[in-house]
Amino acid sequence: MAEVKLRKIVKRYDEVEAVRGIDLDIADHEFVVLVGPSGCGKSTTLRMIAGLEDITDGEILIAGDVVNDVPPKDRDIAMVFQNYALYPHMTVFQNMSFGLRLKRYPKAEIKKRVDEAARILDIKELLDRKPKQLSGGQRQRVAMGRAIVRNPKVFLFDEPLSNLDAKLRVQMRTEIKKVHQQVRTTTVYVTHDQVEAMTLADRVVVMNQGNIEQVGTPHQLYHSPRTRFVAGFIGSPAMNFIPCEVEEVSGGLSIRLTNELSFPVPPARAAHYQNHGQNGKLLLGLRPEHITEAGHHLEPGEVPFEANLEVTEPMGMETLVYFPVNGTQVCGRVNPNAGARDGAPLRLAANLNNMHLIDEASGRVI
């Protein structure tokens, strides 16, 4: 067990800078998820921690030691790959014990560790099988078992669930969380799936174009994104971004979306925005769940308005409604019994207590 520190890590391939000087501190026992679109540098970062990629510039520390020039086998890490990377000619037991056998652990110790890992992962009855006799989920468990038996300082996961079907992915996600709760090994986990990131992580690191956009707990990222990218990436369906102007009206602020539609800003938020000079183009950021059907009595901060629905998507527990505002398609989530129909008007309410105002030029959330 150990903490991992990245200090101004840079990775350059010829002309392309894949990772651009990132800093990150991962605490002992922490489960950190690196998330971002493909090509954002998350996998490269993980592979640099593993020692599978050279570091162009900067320092990586594991348990306080700089490991830049330490080969992977001496970093005391274990990695789970997207395609499992099980040794096809070995049984599950041999796969899991390979690392320990290379390090010449006593037989009894190897057996004890493999049995313990097999118990945690519930794969005891598979120990004599070959990988090709296993299902995708079982192979993924074995791959995790191979990591667990080593009892390493750090676990590295490289999109371990991407090859599984949707149902199994949800199941294995819970499994991974359970395993981490039991073994408490510092974990760095890479995924492009923000749901995986939100559900698994103690802290999520959102990466974009080789930079870290924001680091925070899932709650922080969801409710207080610092950039438009994070606001749009975290959450599904994604946050709505509507071009808007801020107007001063008698003692307060108002967000004007179109000539007909403007929302008064709740006093608490208005005080916050008052201190920032609002120059340039602005975007109103509002999550779909903060646009719902208007009830009989409205909470403070809720503003009713009329919308002409273009498309409705019934999901069962809710219905997603889409309507245009100022040339932008906006998504809301309403009760399935609210009477939303394609092409029909519906009275909706926007909850501005949860609004974000974004400077379009810089992409920063104000």
Binding site: L52, N83, A85, P88, L102, K103, Q133, N163
Partner: protein
């Protein structure tokens, strides 16, 4: 079974039978001839039938010291050449396919290009080289069976390396990365992961190297002359053709006996050759 499929099957069988007849006729004719006496071979009877079968050709050859010498020379040369080939080409292929170093791609192509140069172009320069070597060191390389151990690998190593590069390249990169993280060095990754996983490729390369060295004719014909230094293909020709007298019965017998070892090896290793050992390594 659909009509289309039935016709497809009929055509397949038709051509398979045609090919089988085409390729099996020579060995069958060899077998028939090997069972005849010289008198019957030269007699004007049906050449496709044996009227007085005899094993005398087999007995004579298998008790002839020179034939056994050729056989032993061939066996020793082939086994050593195959071993040398695999010892060189497997690590070479591993290095060329996995350890990216400056010029590795060019080198890999170079290895293949070497194979494209025919041996008929090479035996004269090789002969000249041996002569020069003899002048400088006083060591005679001509007419020594063991010199074939250095000559054959010029044919087998490039091709075996090329086959192995292909097989190693098909092994997912994550497999060696997993081994690397598990604590294996390059050599351990090669011996404990790559060789077992690429076993079908390894066997293919072994069979190839064996066939090439067992059937090699031009180099031993050029570089060896005395009876005790000859390998089987050259031995049969030089000892059983005397001037314009062809001892057909024994020539055919010798050729059949000579073809036996590769046949046996193919028969035993075919299953491995076909088995897809990499299944289950990754998603699939």
């Amino acid at each position: 079974m659909s009509r289309d499929r039935r016709w497809a099957l009929r055509w397949s069988y038709f051509f398979l039978v045609l090919f089988a007849i085409f390729f099996l006729t020579p060995p069958v004719y060899m077998l028939i001839t090997s069972l005849k006496t010289s008198a019957e071979i030269s007699a004007a009877t049906n050449p496709w039938w044996v009227y007085h079968p005899t094993l005398s050709n087999y007995i004579e050859l298998l008790t002839s010291p020179s034939f056994l010498t050729y056989f032993r020379n061939s066996a020793v040369v082939s086994v050593i050449v195959v071993s040398l080939t695999m010892l060189i080409s497997v690590p070479a292929a591993f290095a060329l396919s996995r350890m990216k170093f400056w010029g590795s791609a060019t080198l890999a192509t170079g290895v293949f290009l070497t194979y494209l140069i025919p041996e008929t172009l090479l035996f004269l320069p090789l002969f000249k080289m041996f002569a020069v070597f003899n002048e400088w060191t006083d060591i005679q390389l001509i007419n020594r069976w063991w010199v074939l151990l250095f000559v054959y690998p010029t044919l087998t190593v490039p091709f075996a390396t090329w086959i192995m590069i292909g097989y190693f390249a098909s092994i997912p990169k994550e497999l060696d990365e997993a081994a690397l993280i598990d604590g294996a060095g390059w050599l351990q990754t090669l011996t404990k992961i790559f060789i077992p996983v690429a076993l079908p490729g390894l066997i293919a390369a072994t069979i190839f190297a064996f066939t090439v060295s067992w059937a090699q004719f031009l180099y031993p014909l050029a570089f060896t002359t005395s009876a005790d230094q000859l390998v089987l293909p050259v031995g049969i020709i030089t000892s059983l053709i005397k001037g314009d007298v062809f001892n057909w019965g024994q020539i055919m017998t010798g050729a059949l006996l000579g073809a036996a070892p590769p046949l046996i090896i193919y028969a035993f290793l075919m299953d491995y050759y076909i088995a897809g050992l990499t299944a289950g390594a990754t998603k699939g």
